[in-house]
Symmetry: C2
Amino acid sequence: MYRNAKNVGYYMIGPDSTDQLFDLMRPVREANPDSPAIWFIDHFFTNHALVERLNILEWDMRVFVDTSEEPTCESVDKYTEQVKHFLNGRKACALLAFGGGSTMDTCKCVGNLLTNPGKAADYQGWDLVKNPAPYKIAVPTLSGTGSESSRTGIMTNHEKMLKLGMNSDFSLFDQVVLDPRLAETVPRNQYFYTGIDTFMHCFESLTGNYRNKVVDTFAEKSLELSEKIFLSDDMMSPDNRELLMIASYNGGQAAGFVGIVHPLSAGLGVVLGIHHGMANCYALSVLEEFYPKPYEVFMKMMEKQKIDLPKGICKNLTDKQYDALYEASIVHEKPLMNRLGEDYKKILTKEKVIDLFKKM
Amino acid sequence: MYRNAKNVGYYMIGPDSTDQLFDLMRPVREANPDSPAIWFIDHFFTNHALVERLNILEWDMRVFVDTSEEPTCESVDKYTEQVKHFLNGRKACALLAFGGGSTMDTCKCVGNLLTNPGKAADYQGWDLVKNPAPYKIAVPTLSGTGSESSRTGIMTNHEKMLKLGMNSDFSLFDQVVLDPRLAETVPRNQYFYTGIDTFMHCFESLTGNYRNKVVDTFAEKSLELSEKIFLSDDMMSPDNRELLMIASYNGGQAAGFVGIVHPLSAGLGVVLGIHHGMANCYALSVLEEFYPKPYEVFMKMMEKQKIDLPKGICKNLTDKQYDALYEASIVHEKPLMNRLGEDYKKILTKEKVIDLFKKM
């Protein structure tokens, strides 16, 4: 049985394409005259001039998403309640995400919960969402996670000590607007850590056992673009910002077939609250034996872009924390088998895993 | 103003994925219990065992498309009449195309005419179709044209001596099924001529003035795959058949920004009825001065695959025929400007164009 892969409905790309958002929304506005739009905006943009350019209507709802922590089941449930309270029985004509991976994932998950009963945690897994979500638009202000084109919205479940997504066709955006100017003012470190995520999930996909030839072509191309961007003199040049948006968009379609980096990264996220992009970098920094070539390229990129990854983040933790790091990593059976085969627990023993964390 | 690019809704890929067609259709069948499906099938498959595997229902309609000639406005109008007569006021739950570019283009154009008034010729051009077409599925049995993922359905208009498509988002398929086994028994020459179309529109797109960076990444990847396939020892190996399906699918999204090959090819199609793939080969065979590198690669591919392109097809034509060849080529302003700039008529004088045809 082959999987039937769903695509993002529409995409638009170009500097200042954000200015066409109002026109893009006209049909859904007109078709739903009594329905406001819900805007999920990274809290970084509170009172920011960029938000004025979005043409948000008076009666729309603005949800400023606190991205200092990545989405959790609790935060998603909280935003869902706020939106439901605001809508008060009305439908939303559109949900929009203006931000990076955390904002987009929040928008995707809340979308599913507006049309499906229960809590966020009920839908962590594969194809558990039953009803279509409202129409959704992504306007990424940061690229790399691929959330704009992937079928998942990742949430940390603190109760289960697990980082897992709502994997569903209904999580996909209907419209994506890629405006490379939005990333102009991102701090260099953040641009790197987020952008490099594309490199991470693409090489993981290409070195795995579970392959899909279409996904491979996306991953190969995105990998090529990532290397071009992060080995160039100015990773944030206008051209590179645009290429990174493309790499991220294409790479998002390659996500889902990851390897060892993402499980270790999830461990860091769950236990220490380290953000996904940076956590990936820590993970790869100790995985040379499993990924010698990507490790080498990655180290060159870090050097070229003068990115400093402070050592020792997992030193002097409690035994309980080390146990938790192991558990929150090893639980990711699919990706670990993708790289290491069925006997992955024989290779990644508890001792080995804790040792890897201690090296970070 | 940037264009909002629409994607194919869903795609599935893999050997024998055709066997999942019945399941893929279940939701539209169930949602439209009184609506039959309309199957556009290349007439080559009349009484062919493959058709039995499609699970066509008793009350569905089978339209065997005569692909000895490529689609014309007349043929599309004729098939539209037949389908309307069969439906007799009912709706179709789905239109399916099982064949190569001609069959898929016929399906796309008839689809638009089932929900829009008038004749095929009324919609040759850009964004003239006003109402959405019925749900459409493509199952290509031959790859290269990219029709399965492009927003156009090409028709020859004999009255206007013009080859032009119905360029519309409504022309796009909702579902594509890519089954590389379907191309197992295609004659080598036909496989080459059709497959090479991807190479053609991708290098034309990449050497043009009108560029789009997303389209570029698709075109670059498809070009790389085409070269890999057609410079290998066996262009029809199972792996290469699958890669060609991917290259064609990705390349279809790069179509629309072509150059000089396609206009000359359109001339050959309109005036001499030469099929698109072969006509492209004739065109490139005399365009070394404009495309030196692609010309060289193409010649190597021809040699490697032992493809014989008989010379002299435009020798000894009448003056009227040469005039017609010129007219049917030079009318394609957009692609010619894409490669040659606004002064393209100063470069491609009538004498020059006729001379190129005489060299074929």
